[in-house]
Structure formats: C-alpha cells, structure tokens
Amino acid sequence: MAKILGIDLGTTNSAMAIVEGGEPKILENHEGARTTPSVAAVSKAGERLVGLLAKRQAVVNPKNTIFSVKRLIGRNFDDKEIQRDKSWLPYEIQKSATGGMEIKMGERWYKPEEISAMTLAKLKADAEMKTGEKIEEAVITVPAYFDDSQRQATKNAGEIAGLKVRRIINEPTAAALAYGLNRKKNEKIVVYDFGGGTFDISVLEVGDDVVEVKGTGGDTHLGGDDFDKRIIEYLVVEYKKQEGIDISKDPLALQRLKEAAERAKHELSTAMETEINLPYVTSDASGPKHFLMKMTRAKLEELVRDYIDRSIDLTGQALNEVKLKPSEIDEVILVGGQTRMPAISGAVKKFFGKEPHKGINPDEVVAIGAAVQAGIFQGDVKDILLLDVTPLSLGIETLGGVFTALIEKNTTIPTSKSQIFSTAAENQTSVEIHILQGERPMAADNKTLGRFILDGIPPSPRGIPQIEVQFDIDANGILNVSAKDKASGKSQSVRIEASTQLSKDEVDKLKQEAAVHAEDDKKKKELAEARNMGEQTIYLAEKSLKEAGDKISVEIKDAINAKIGELKTVKDGSDIEVIKSKTAELSMEIQKIGQSIHPPHDNADEASK
C-alpha cells in the first residue's frame, strides 16, 4: 500500500515522516538534512530554488526569496497581523482581487499557497526518492489557532503540490499523538511549543477517541531566533568594549559569530560553561584581532530571562482563559528546538509542578505525530502482527551466586539464545541449572522459575566440560530451558509456562526494585566477581605448584604458599579492594614459577642464532 507522508509545514523549517514497519520515522531530504527551510526563491537567472538552496542566496536576492509564508497563508490582506508583518518582510505583497494577498517572486505574483506548495512539492519529491515509492497522499499539520480559511489554504497548497491531503491536523494534537497520549481518556494536556520564530501554547483535552483543542495562546513573534540575536548582540557589544571594534560591520566575521553563538547556545544546554574562540576574526590598523570569550549558562539565562518569563506568562494566560489551574493539567509536552534549553524545561516544570514529556526530538515530534496519523489511515498499525516482549531478563545462576542473563528484557519473542558454561570444581559430574527472572545482578535477589540437575558429566578438570544451556521462548511466552554436556551428549530440560505472565504491576515493582538497589547490587556483584577471581587464582597457583614440582626452589614455593594463605583468609570477607590486591599479589608470585623454569633471555638475537 502506498505510503502517506506526515508533514510538519513550519514557519521557518519543515519536516516529514512516514510509518515504516509500524514505527514512525523522520525522512531526510535530498541534501541529507532532517529539516528543510520553508523558503522558496526565484534566482536572478530565473531558476526556482526551494529549501536550503533558496536560503543560501537570500542575502543577494532578498526581494525574490520568500520565507515565513505561513504567516500569510489564508489571511486577508487587511488583517492587522499582515499589516504588521508587511513592514518587515523584505519581499513585496499586494492585495488580491478576493481580498487575500499576492506575493511577488521573480516576474510573477503568487498566492501564499502556491509558495507553500513549493516547499511541499520538494518534500514530496525528496520523500519519493528516499523511499523509492510514489507518494500521493499526506497529512499536514497547522497551528491550533488556524481558522477555516487558513486550513483550507494549507490544504490547497498540498493539492497544488500534487498531494491528496487526507487530513489537516493541529500541531499540538500531532505532538500528543507522537507520545501516544491520544489513548489517555479524559486527560488535559498542554503543549508548549517554542519554535524558531513562533511561540504557541495549546490546551488539549482527550475525549472518546478525539483530541479537542480547549484553548490556545502564544506570541507569533517570539522564538529561538530571538535568543540567537540576543547572544550575538551581547557578544558584539562585549567585543567592542574589549577591542574597540564593531564586528557586526564585517559580514564574514558576523557569519562566524552567528555560528559560534548558535553552537554556544547548544553547548550550554549540557555544559555550564563554554568558550567562544574565533581566531583572526577581524583586523585593524594594529594587525589581526581574535575573539576569545567565555560564556556561562547563567549569563545566557540572564540574557534571555525576559523571553522565558514572557512565555510562562502567556502559558498562564492561556490556562486562565479556559479556567484551568496548572495543577489540573495531566501532561505537558515540549515542542520546538528551543525547549532543549534547561532553563526553559525547568521553568515549565516549575509552573506545572510536573516533569514535561521530552523524549522525542522536539524539532521532529510534530512530523512524527503527523506520520502516526498517516499510519492510522494507512492501516499499518493494524497490519502488524503483534509480538510480545519479555518484560524481564531471563537467565541462570553462575559461580558466586551471580545472575547471568541469557535473554535480556524487552527481547521480542519468539526467540532462543544459547551460551556455553562449564564446571567450577575438579571432577564435577553434575551441574545445577537454576533458572531465574529479574533485573538484579545477584541470583538470590531474582525470582526462581525452576531448577534441574544435569548429571553424568565425565570427570575432568574444572573449566573443561562444555555445557550448552539453551533458552527458548515460544510465541505464547512458554520457556524451554535445556542443558547439554557436549562431551557425553547427555541433556536435560525443563518447561516453564509462566515466564511472561507477570502482571504489569509485578513487572514495574521488580524493575523499580532493581533501580533502587542498583548501587548495592553493583557492589555485591563486584564482590562476587572478585571472589571468583581470587578462587581461580588460588586454583591456578596450586595447580602450577603441583606441576612445577621440584623444578622450583623452596623459597618460591613458600612465597606462593604464603600468598595463597593470605588470599584464602581474606577472600570470604567483604572488602573488594583487599581481595583484589591479594589476588594481584598472588598472580605476581605465580609468574616467578615460569621465570625460574624458563629464565628470560636478555639477548634474543643470540638465542636465535
């Protein structure tokens, strides 16, 4: 079945996604980027350019490079927003015969939907190239506050681009779909969308299978670009103070500064401090000048504090209008690249008193949601055979009481895994297979599912027998565990019915326990491993002594025996470091056996002659 494209047609950037194998995923454009600038242009040579290419020539062709067309689509020329935007948009706009508007690009006047269609057509073509399939249908998102005329115009843009628009959906609804929140009945959701050029706040309510927009708010002229501008302004002013040079007059220097400012902004989302380092940024009569400045997260936050405060005020206003208190909101979703800034997610969290959803890339979440809606139309969701996963890890107990997982949690079933184990003692003729389920590293802390004994293993030194343990879970969650001694061919198995039939609560409880005890458990496991290592070293030492017999001196023997004694006394204690150091000492001592039997040759060349 033909794919339906999910499109987030943004003011500054657009993104697209499809559902593949039941999962929504972002499609990269022809240039290999995950978002495409919503820009169209006619070059001086008369060529039509869309996306990044149009953006690259904007500086030299401002009158014929059309951006932010989403601000114009479906509106009347006399709207006060249009009159305001007209004053700063560098291209020409005029009233059309129907009261709408027309934009001049190259030699022609275009309707806003024709310009939007150019971005959509590029997305369509790039998606077709990427998937190798013809794409004829799309789901396109619009802001929740778009009226009928704006929605119709957006739909028309899709049709002009050769796409049958299956549905126009709201951006916040798409975000909620991406997080699967449409299934949560009677919940109230706030979507806080801080994009490049606009800030939108939407209050949603999930009813029976419908997501209703209760209220909207925001500022169509507040976005991440304002943050960048603030940073650049600050850097320019500081530089002037330091060096007395106005760097903003030099286009290359300004370009480098812009990139550096953006990079600093991104870095300060994770680091507390960053350095802006631009050698040879400009020059004056005295010679080349460099730009070196430290910027802290605190400084960045101070620079844009009023923008963040304003967004929170607007959020409060939007809630007031629908008579809701922040505490009555069940879920909060962050959308837009700017929400990666910790000060923003922090302010939102503080305002609502709960952790906002931010797991999906905030630049892509709307397109992902559009694809989810497209997937519902496509029926992809239904076509897929639902396969279960194992909720917890399954494995066996190994030396020192350690839990060794064979099938990790969240593995899709049916599946089977096998691993070779061996014996822990000399001449061991039987092994116990203790089957467990859980996330804790020590066997004793996990749930026992069953145990059995494999015997008849021919006597041999420890570590020699090869026992293959196989775990097999069928589609019904029934676990078969078998153990087979490779030498004798003897095998034994057990069938466990209830391996995946834990209730959700039980699984959550076990996972929680694992998280709570993570630190303790790690130590216990380390201790068990250190003891195992110690025991192995003792075994090796004793074996080496026996093998060496009279070939080594009594002093070496005594020294080794002394170290063995020391290790034996500490190995059952609980001090990991002591066990490790005593083990290391014994290992060093054992090496002397080899050295005394085969003295090292100082002159290898001599020996080879």
Binding site: G21, E31, G32, S43, K44, A45, L49, L53, A54, R56, Q57, A58, V59, V60, N61, P251, L252, Q255, R256, L278, P279, Y280, S283, G287, P288, L385
Partner: protein, 155 residues
C-alpha cells in the same frame, strides 16, 4: 445426517486451508521482511561508517578556516613561513584521505547556491550575480556538501 457432517467438515477444512494460507503468507512475509531489513541495514551501515566522522570533520573544518585566516594575515606581514604551509597541507591531506574535498570556486563565475552561500552582495565591476571573492572555503565529504563555500556576490 452424514451429509450435514460432510458439509461441516468441508467448511472446517476450507477454513483451515484459508488460515493455513494466511499463516504461510504471513510467515513468508516476515522472513522476507527480515532479509530485506538485513540488506537495508548493511547498506545503511556502510553509509553510517562512511559518515561516522562527519561531526569531527565539521569541527576540524573550523580549525582549517582559522588556519587560512592566520596564513592570510601572516602573508600580509610577509611572515608566512613555508613550514606553516606544510602543516596546513598535512591537515588537508589527512582530511582528503578521509573523503573530504574542497569546493572549487572561481571568481567571475555565476553564483551557484548548490555549492555556495552568499554572505553579502557588493558593488563590483564584475557582472551581476557572479562571485567576487571566496571568503571561506566550502567542503564536500564523500560527495555530500557539508559546508558551502562562502562568497561575496556582485550586485
């Protein structure tokens, strides 16, 4: 009586056969999906491997830019030593071996947004919409443009 039984059995058999066909079809599809996924995955892995160093190379390009600017400044003062050019060539060589190529820009040629980014338009005796000066080099990594050449364009 027996006719009814036969008819029920025929119905059951038809149902079973239908289910069998569906299951077989589903199984074949699942197998094919897996094989195709493996193929796609190995193709994707090749691309990932090819471009795994893109982030690092992008950062290094900035260092190269600074190097270019430093060299230009030193040249002006007549202090550019041969050794510095050699170090620059070393860095470029290493990057070239890893798939990096310079975007060729010639002054006087028409501005090409496929490979170039205009950072300013200037008065010039050159024809309109042609490149007046390359101010920052552009680079391709395995044929993909990772940084356009930054140019001044004639008004």
């Amino acid at each position: 009586m027996s006719l009814i039984i036969v008819s029920i059995m025929t119905d059951d058999l038809a149902k079973c056969q239908k289910e069998r066909d569906e299951n077989l079809e589903g199984w074949k599809r699942a197998k094919a999906d897996l094989l195709n996924y493996k193929k796609d995955e190995s193709k994707r892995f090749e691309i990932v491997a090819k471009f795994s160093q893109e982030g690092l190379i992008r950062e290094l390009i900035k260092t190269l830019d600074s190097f270019d600017l430093a060299l230009a400044a030193l040249e002006k003062e007549g202090k550019a030593e041969k050794g510095i050019y050699l170090i620059r060539a070393q860095i470029e060589d290493t990057l070239r071996q890893n798939g990096l190529e310079r975007v060729a820009v010639s002054v006087g040629q028409p501005f090409d947004p496929n490979l170039q980014e205009a950072i300013v338009s200037v008065e010039s005796d050159k024809p309109s919409d042609t490149v007046v000066e390359e101010v920052e080099r552009g680079y391709l990594l395995h044929g993909k443009l990772i940084r356009p050449a930054r140019v001044k364009v004639a008004k």
